[in-house]
């Protein structure tokens, strides 16, 4: 056991640092309530050697961080220039094509500030200190599940901090190098440093986006639910178009899509449907889509060729990966039943319909699945949906998270419009929250919605975090 844990430390820790680019900042709010109480130490002797052999890189990071959290020890160039200093100078940011190092440096420095803001830098620093203290407790591994959770979380934060600190360091080094090259009239070195700064400027834009997906559950897979509004076939067709947009979007992003539940419309479209989207950060992206989507077009179902307005509501539910944070379902609280039961059942009835509905009696939360081909599989999928709905409820209750993201389909008010798709008389898709717009609705309906998602994510995160830097 001891050996295994040691191996775990050695192999797991470094890879964590590379593999976990995001930080669950939400855990800052809720972690204390979910952390199990620490077991009393009984075999401290057993654990001490383990920690004595802790890989040195780990300690280095801790120190490195401790140093950078002191304002007077912020990384700086040989002539005392810091990232904040660069921003404060307000050097004009010119086109990328202009070979002006000040312009590049100013752009990168602004990005670093933005990343830090998005990552809630100060809260993160505080949390890392807490986690480090926890990791130093000799009896930590008495509870391996908790210990694993702590070390994973710590590894994730450290990875993120190292990345940003490293980026900061690189910027200052390149500036030093460039100034040195000028002093020494080394044109080759100067042009190399200039190129490096330009490269950093481009990478910085990607890193800004990555920092957006730092929510606690952002890395999860999710369910997406779509329901047509009032208005018959036209709105059911619109619901199907919206669902199709998400299926195509998910495919583009390389996510796996499974239909969980689908109620087709009589003539066309769907009344309501649920899909499961599997993949890293599926929830982080899809959560931006929660709300009501509005369509204006000449309806192909109207023989008089009139213009119609229809609505479809979208809900997104994360599928929590960490079993310890999931809502504990008590078997006896469930009522599991056939969704539609007709007649005598058994041998007298041959039906391919084996839809299952599960009701969680204490909360009244239900889940239905009818798209699988056996009752057993329908039950398993309905359980997965129910679990996620209950998790969502629990999340909202515990952390009082941003209410918008945790709304279920039934809670979404039809007034809560987030986006408008106009196909006629002009062509335009416009997000009502961010004012982001695209004049090619076809491409959007084919799943090209990343522009909308990213503009929304940056607008909310940047707004939220301004006060928290």
């Amino acid at each position: 056991m001891g050996l295994f844990l040691l191996k775990h430390w050695r192999t797991k820790m470094p890879s964590n640092l590379h593999r976990n680019p995001r930080i669950p900042f939400m855990s800052l709010l809720s972690s204390s309530s979910t952390a199990p109480s620490m077991p009393q130490t009984e075999s401290a002797v057993f654990h001490t050697p383990l920690f004595a052999k802790r890989p040195p890189f780990f300690l280095q990071f801790t120190r490195g961080f401790a140093a950078s959290s002191q304002p007077d020890l912020d990384p700086q160039t040989s002539d005392g220039l810091t990232v904040d200093g660069i921003v404060a100078r307000s050097w004009p940011i010119l086109d990328e094509g202009e070979s002006d190092w000040r312009s590049h440096a100013a752009s990168v420095a602004l990005s670093i500030q933005l990343m830090k803001r998005r990552l809630q830098w100060k809260k993160m620093a505080l949390r890392v200190e807490q986690l480090s203290a926890e990791l130093n407790k000799p009896d930590l591994w008495e509870d391996p599940v908790y210990a694993g959770k702590i070390s994973r979380e710590h590894g994730m934060y450290m990875g993120k901090m190292k990345e940003v600190n490293g980026f900061e360091q690189d910027l200052l080094e390149h500036i030093d190098m460039l100034k040195l090259a000028r002093e020494e009239n080394d044109t080759e070195l100067e042009s190399e440093s200039m190129k490096a700064l330009l490269r950093m400027r481009r990478i910085a834009k990607e890193k800004e986006l990555e920092a957006l997906l730092a929510g606690e559950h952002d890395s999860c897979s999710c369910f997406i639910e779509v329901q047509g509004g009032a208005g018959g076939t036209e709105s059911m067709d619109w619901a199907a178009m919206v669902m199709n947009m998400y299926k195509l979007w998910a495919q583009r992003r390389g996510f796996e899509v499974t239909t969980v539940d689908e109620m087709p419309g009589e003539i066309a479209g769907i009344k309501r449907a649920t899909i499961k989207v599997d993949g890293e950060y599926a929830y982080g992206y899809a959560k931006s889509e929660v709300g009501v989507h509005r369509l204006v077009r000449i309806s192909p179902f109207d023989s008089a060729k009139r213009r119609h307005t229809s609505f479809a509501a979208v809900a997104v539910i994360p599928i929590l990966g960490d079993s310890s944070s999931r809502f504990q379902i008590n078997e006896s609280d469930l009522r599991i039943e056939r969704f539609r039961s007709g007649g005598a059942g058994g041998q007298s009835v041959n039906t391919t319909d084996s839809a299952v509905r599960i009701v969680h009696i204490p909360t009244g939360v239900t889940a239905t699945c009818q798209n699988e081909r056996s009752q057993h599989q329908n039950k398993a999928m309905a359980m997965a949906v129910l679990q996620s709905r209950l998790d969502q409820l629990e999340m909202a209750r515990q952390a009082q998270m941003n209410a918008q993201h945790t709304q279920s389909l039934t809670d979404i008010s039809w007034g809560n419009q987030i986006r408008s798709y106009v196909l006629h008389p002009y062509a335009m898709v416009k997000d009502l929250r961010t004012r982001y717009e695209v004049s090619d609705p076809d491409s959007v309906l084919e799943g090209d919605i990343d522009g909308f998602i990213l503009s929304y994510l940056s607008s909310t995160v940047d707004k939220d975090e301004e006060t928290n830097i």
């Binding site: 199907a240 058994g346 041998q347 007298s348 009752q375």
Partner: protein, 378 residues
């Protein structure tokens, strides 16, 4: 426990090398009848010793263009919509919603790559010209005629595609074999529950009498421990060959043995040694047979449905035999036609069985019907 499968004369060879099975023993069907001598086997379809390969297992041998497949799709949907709630109202048959889902599943089984299917129903396909060739496991004409049979003849969907998804596996089925019902899945859940508590049951010998496609036997075979065995029996030759095929498809031939014969007849060698006995015997009262849903009454084997005048003939026979077949502490579970039958059976097993059974319970299915009777041999 050491097992000796001595009486294998009536069953097929245990490990069959070929996909299509042929039965060397051509015994007259009458000798395999259940104990109830009044029963005749009015099978609609002649007994075929070779199981048909279900659609989803066939290799792609044909192809059609995307737009041809789209035409089929909208034609099939049109037929489904023309049904409305007609079947539902007349005999509790499928409605449009259900038929539409079946079209989706039919196509899933029929095409080589299912990724194309979501595009069939949508109006705009910017990336598809319609001339793309889609590889199919049957001719497009056959696809039309199968869906026509589904609607016009009410041929069960599971016979059309040759399989039934049951629990977490896929069973091959064909005419002459009862299509396993969703309710029956719960018998495996009940067995799972008792074997999780008792090791003796976990690695003991089980019997599934009247196994049909092999569903319960395979379900139990998959949850027993190393050492646990199942004997799955059926009187019908088709059922035996289909069950054998299904057992082999899941690689369970060392765990689940299929034997041919009526009820306890093929398991005489293990009487008194069983750790568990389960069955979904025919239980429909004879006078209800003519009024059954068309998919059932017109297409499924009467042999697997008709339980005699009150539907209890075979259940009573099983109840009687299980006190001899089960070892001490052995578990049983029987499926019944519902409320009255299960109450009667439970009553017989508690009060009229000289204390041979304990913990006799009635269990409900997911529709709330008292579907099962379970208990233990003392």
């Amino acid at each position: 426990m050491t097992l000796c499968f001595t009486r294998t004369i009536h069953s097929l060879p245990f490990k069959h090398p070929r996909l299509s099975l042929s039965n060397p023993s051509k015994r007259p069907i009458s000798s395999f009848l259940p104990h109830s001598s009044s029963q005749s086997p009015p099978l609609l379809h002649p007994i075929s010793p070779k199981p048909h390969l279900p659609l989803f297992l066939r290799p792609p041998t044909s192809s059609a263009t995307f737009s041809d497949l789209q035409k089929f799709h909208s034609w099939a949907k049109g037929l489904a919509f023309s049904v409305g709630s007609k079947f539902l109202d007349s005999d509790n048959g499928p409605d449009t919603d259900l038929l539409c889902r079946e079209i989706k599943w039919l196509l899933e089984d029929a095409v080589e790559h299912t990724s194309i299917l979501p595009h069939l129903g949508s109006s705009q396909n910017p990336n598809l010209t319609g001339s793309e060739l889609i590889r199919l496991k049957l001719d497009l004409d056959d696809l039309y005629s199968l869906w026509n049979q589904r609607i016009e003849e009410r041929r069960p969907f599971q016979y059309i595609v040759g399989c039934e998804h049951w629990r977490d596996f896929v069973l091959c089925v064909e005419e002459g074999v009862l299509i396993p019902r969703p309710e029956t899945e719960l018998i495996v859940d009940m067995v799972e529950e008792v074997v999780s508590k008792e090791k003796g049951l976990r690695n003991g010998l089980w019997a599934d009498l009247g196994t049909g496609s092999g569903a319960i036997g395979i379900g139990i075979g998959r949850i027993l421990e190393e050492g646990g065995r199942v004997i799955a029996t059926d009187v019908s030759e088709v059922a035996v060959s289909v069950a054998t095929f299904n057992v082999q498809r899941y690689g369970l031939q060392d765990k689940v043995q299929v034997r041919q014969g009526s009820w306890f007849e093929p398991i005489e060698d293990v009487m008194g040694k069983l750790a568990g006995l389960v069955s979904n015997p025919p239980y429909i009262p004879r006078d209800q047979i003519p009024r059954l849903q068309a998919e059932v009454g017109k297409h499924e084997p009467r042999l697997a449905l008709d339980g005699g005048d009150h539907g209890m003939d075979d259940l009573l026979h099983l109840c009687e035999g299980s006190s001899i077949a089960l070892g001490s502490g052995g578990f049983f579970a029987f499926e019944t036609n519902g409320d009255e039958q299960s109450e009667l059976l439970a009553d017989i097993m508690t009060s009229k069985s000289e204390n041979r059974f304990r913990d006799v319970k009635i269990k409900t299915d997911m529709a709330g019907i008292h579907r099962f009777v379970t208990g233990f041999r003392r």
